[in-house]
Structures are given as C-alpha cells and as structure tokens.
Symmetry: C2
Subunit: 376 residues, 2 copies
C-alpha cells in the first residue's frame, strides 16, 4: 500500500521514492490541488506533461458534489477524473473548519449546514473514512480538527490548543479503526496538531508515532498565523517525525515556503496558491513574482519568463497578450497562467530533488534566494 | 495574396484549396471564432491538433481592447495570438450593428459609445480598413451595414433593405480605395446584402462582382430571421457568386446549416455556436445534440459520443464527470466541451471535403441527416 525509500539526504533535506497504489512519487514533491475533482483550468494531460505525479482531492467538496454515489460508480476518483497518477485526499476537517460560525464541533464530529443547499450534515472520523474509501485515494488523511490561530478574536492559548490537539488524537484512533474495518487498501496518514506550541506539537507527534501510521502530516499551519510562527513550526516539527516515513506539510505555500520546508525535512506539499494566484494574475518565476495586471505589461512582447520551459513561455505567449486576455476575462488567461505557475512549482521540486541527490542543495538554495530577490 | 483552386464538385457543393498569405485552407472549411484574440477556452495548440486551418478575429473588439497600438507592436494578430495558421477578420460592421440603440449610422460611418468605457467612437469604411491593416489578417472583410431583419418592430421592407444594401455597396468602394492606398498585401472580400429579398441580393451581387474582389461573403443572415428565410437566402445566393472565387457564409450556424450551406455552394463558415453552446452545456454530436445539464447524465460513465475522437471523448471523460464539472462551475467543463464541439464541426467539414472529392456527398448528406435524427 505504501513503500518509502530514502535515496539521499543533505542536512535535514531528503530525496526519497514513495510508492503508492497508483505508482511512484518522487519526493520532495508538490501536489496540485483538484478541489472538485479538477485542477482548475488545467487538463489532466497538461498536468502529466509537466510532470505532476500526485494530485489532491477535497473530500468535503466531493462529498457534497457529485456525492459518493456517483464516484462509487467509477470505483473511485481516479477513473472519475481520468487521472492515472497518484492521489491524496484530505479528510474534510480543514474545510468544515473554514465554515467558521456555520459549524459546531463536538466529540462525535462536526455538524454543519451544506454551503451548497443548506442541508444539515454531520462529518465524523468514521464518515470521513467511509467517503475516502469510496474516493479510493492512494493517501487518506485522518479526520482532524484544525486548531485555529485565533479563538474569539485573540490568539488561541495553550489550553485551547491542547484540547483541540487531543481531540484530533482521539479522532485519529477512530479513523484507524474505521479505516481497517473498511479494508481500505491504501495508506492512512496521521496529522500533527498543537497550534503554535512546540510542546503540544511534540506530544501530538509522540502519540501519533505510537499509532505507527505509514506517513505523517503537519497540520494547523497556514491558518492565518504570522509568517514567523509558520516558519518556527516548520523548522520545529518535520525532522522529529520518523525518518523512514513520508512527511507532508499541509497547505503550504509560497516558493520560499517550499524551499524552507524541504530544508526542514518535508517530503510532500500541497497548496492552491499556484492555481489561485494564476487566476488573479499573480505569476511566480525564478526571478521573483510578476503581477500580470500591472499596466507596464500592456505591450511587453516578452514571455512571462524567458528561462521557463512551460507551455505558455515556451510557446512564446507574451506578457502583453496574457495581460490583454486577463483584462478581457478570457479563459485562456487563467489556462496559460495556471500552467505556468504549476510548472514553476513542479520544476522547483525537481531541481531540489536533483540538488539533494548531488549533495548541492545548500548551494542551490542560496542561488534560489538570490534569483528570487533579483526581480523580473 | 489569394489563390483559389477548385478540386472537385458535386452538384453545387465544391471542394477547393484556398491559399492565403499564412498557408493553405482546405474548403469547405469552418473558422472558429476568436473574438478577443482567443478562441474561448481553447489553446492554439489544441486548435492545431484538431485541424483548424483558419480562425476569425473581431475587428471591433480588438480595436477597443487591446487596441491597434499594442497589436502594431506584434506586426499583427498572428504573432500577438501565437497563431501560425490563417486568419480572417470581420469589419466591425456586425458588432456596431449589434449595439442597437447605442449607435447612429450615417453615410460617413457609424458613431457609437464604446461598451468598454463609454468613449464616443466613429467607425468608417476607411477606419475599418486601417484597423484590419494593423491586424494583418489574411482575409479582410469590407465594412458593411448588416441589414436588420426587423425595423421599428416590424419586418424590414424592400425600400429599407435597398437603402441599406446600397449604402454597403458605396462603403465597399470606399473600402477598396482605402485597402489599396494602405498597400494591404492580403485579400479583401465583399459582402452581399439585400435582406430577405432575392432581387436585392442579385443587385448587390452583380455590383460587387463588377468590383472584382478576390472573394465574396453572404452577410445579413443569422440576424434573427425565421429559419425558412435563412434557408431561402442560403439556397439562393451562393451559386450565383463567381465560381472561381471563395464564398463565405457569415455567422452560420448549426451542423445542419453547414451541410445545407455546402450543398448550396458555400466554401467558408464561421459561428460562435460550437464554443458558446459548449459553455452552456449544449453539445453537438453526430447522433444529435446532448444537453449536458440534464440530470440523466449525473452518473453516466459514457463519453459524450463514443464514436468521437476529440480529446475529451478519446480520453474517456464521462458525461457524469463533465456534468459534475459544469455544475460546480469548473473551467475544465467549457475547456473540454469547447474542444468537443469544435472538433465535431471541423470533422463535419473534413468529411464533407472527402465526400465531395469522392463524389458521394449526396449519400453522405442523407446519412448525416439520418444519424442526427437518431438521437444520442
């Protein structure tokens, strides 16, 4: 169901090969997000062409639409989406958390009103496992409570973060029991919580490690906290996780965040940023970010980045053309910019894998930082 | 600038090879519409892959955004869009006509307020030629007045249609003068008008033929008239145009319209229908039309049409998946359905070319009608 082979390391950074039920994932790796069963604006064939090996699906969204009855008919998400690579699904925990005042958390699970049609719904560790069994994702995430950075308008305190972390641990045990009773042939990952408190993170981690899951994630970051808190937790937790198992930093982040994550020992990342920012005209490049909506691009004949080999840049689509398409609301703008941003993220990961293999990750990272600061 | 070689014919239907400044166009041919310099939702590489040889750009829209100053920097629309095939631009006449009460027509041209920013603008035969010179399209359309089907709430009468047709003829002469004085190396087409009156159409045609333009279009159809009127004009006019020059039926139409057009001697077509309908979940197939939003497709594992070889059908994307994507507002839905519909239109044209070459167009047409009536 999961095989993880460490191939090389440099400092805390690791290069590994993760084998899942639908194939191999070379790590460090980035997972494009396909919330509703589609990476927004990108054909699966284009994802393959740019080297994506694993994509993410959102249990919460897919449960509401199209619903498990439909996906069951396709024996899971892979065939429904036409994606032959690997797939990871989140547990729905983060999405119900995002509903804010519209949801009520108890020991049993989370009750909330469907944002699609107002139906009263209950999501529990067991139900999350049942849905993910139908989705048949290669990596199943435990149902957890994502500890918020703020509670009632102030920073969440240690007691509150502890209660939340302990609830997630009890839910982890219920997830394992249900996952096993369903005979799920895939891999279940646990999620370290504990808010911004290192001590709580260590307790969460220790208890999850006792459960001997095949992989672990770091959750509860990228939830509105200041960048320095995020960096502090990312520096703290990954290398404390078992070295022989994959480590996944959830919902992170910018190109810099990915590089720091890899330097801290993270293997897997996911984030909506490359596609969402693309739709908003925010382009990532090796030499810094480019705001496509800036009027200075109006008649610029250059591609987004001349050194980039994505379909948009290699075909020579100019900044002027992309600026124009975006201004006119033409779909081709987000189509091309999403390809560019995802290609950039996946290229970063590939370069980091090669650098670690060749024991030159430290130098690569310094060059990355210098290039990004150069500006484009 | 234009070479037109008749290769075969069957009845009034013709198979020809049209050579323009950017390459060969096999006719009968359909031109996907790229209003703002992009065929909505379709990558230029995908258009090439499905065999598109010529696309259409809208002078009116491109004049407003991005403006001729930007396109001038790219020496025309081809390099701006990254399209290496052929291109035809309309004159802007139809679009200003579509503005309705917002425009005022005089002998000089049309005054109107920009729908983008309210600027007061004037479009004349000369200005249309100047803009199209910058766009550097392979086929330039004369600036004309599209005679409306209705005037002041009743059907346009013969006198009104005559006045409009005669204005278009005077504008045709001004277009030729300006086109020549600009040294445009491309091909200028005249447009037959005359409303729903065969006599006026014949007068318009006769006078345009005297002007000895390299190609002719039939305008003023698909302007809200009943289907039988459209069919009557399409049956009347094409074969009266010079046999050794290309004939273009503007803004038409459904798959049936294309087949009837070819049977009546038309060589070129354009229409927004395949892409616009795709975005509305209206899919064209050999076996009739399919409404993707119909709930019966909710869990249908079949592709749109199992006999279709477009990227969407050949990759096996199911009706259930497309239905789901459409329901969730995912961009991938119009991306895949636009590919399907355009592929279907282009395949129809290819099949008609082959049928005419092999002198079996009549049989092909009967089979087409039977297949379309079968239902999917």
């Amino acid at each position: 169901m999961l095989h993880f082979e460490l191939l090389a390391s440099e400092g805390l950074a690791r290069r590994a090969r993760l084998t899942l039920n639908h194939g191999v994932v070379d790590t460090p790796q980035f997972m494009p997000v396909g919330t509703y069963g589609s990476v927004k604006g990108v054909l699966p064939s284009a994802l393959e062409a740019m080297g994506a090996q694993i994509i993410l699906g959102n249990t919460f969204h897919l449960w509401l639409r199209p619903g498990t009855d439909v996906i069951q008919r396709f024996s899971g998400l892979h065939r429904f989406e036409g994606w032959s690579g690997s797939m990871l699904t989140d547990s729905g925990g983060f999405q119900v958390w995002s509903l804010g005042a519209m949801r009520k958390i108890s020991e049993e699970g989370v009750r909330f009103a469907s944002p699609v049609n107002g139906d009263k719904l209950l999501l529990t560790p067991e139900i999350s496992m049942q849905i993910q069994r139908v989705l048949n994702s290669d990596v199943v995430m435990q149902f957890d409570e994502c500890t918020p950075y703020e509670t009632e308008g102030r920073i969440t305190n240690n007691d509150e973060a502890r209660a939340s972390m302990e609830l997630s641990l009890r839910w982890a045990r219920r997830c394992i029991a249900e996952f096993e009773s369903l005979g799920n042939p895939n891999a279940l990952f646990g999620i370290v919580q504990g808010g911004m408190f290192e001590g709580l993170r260590e307790e969460s981690l220790a208890q999850l490690v006792e459960l001997d899951l095949p992989g672990y994630a770091i959750g509860g970051v990228s939830v509105g906290e200041p960048k320095e808190d995020m960096r502090r937790i990312v520096a703290h937790t990954p290398h404390r996780l078992p070295a022989h198992k994959p480590r996944y930093l959830m919902g992170v982040g910018t190109p810099e965040d990915l590089v720091e994550g890899v330097a801290s020992g993270v293997d897997l990342f996911d984030c909506v940023m490359p596609t969402r920012n693309a739709r908003n005209g925010h382009l990532f490049t090796r030499f810094g970010d480019l705001r496509l909506r800036n009027a200075r691009h109006k008649d610029d004949p250059h591609p987004i980045d001349e050194t980039c080999r994505c379909h948009a840049c290699a075909s020579g689509f100019s900044r002027a053309y992309l600026h124009h398409l975006d201004r006119c609301g033409e779909m081709l703008a987000p189509m091309l910019t999403s390809i560019h941003n995802l290609h950039f993220y996946l290229t970063l990961m590939r370069e980091m894998r090669e650098a670690i293999e060749q024991q030159r990750f430290a130098a690569w990272r310094a060059q990355f930082q210098a290039d990004r600061a150069r500006g484009i």
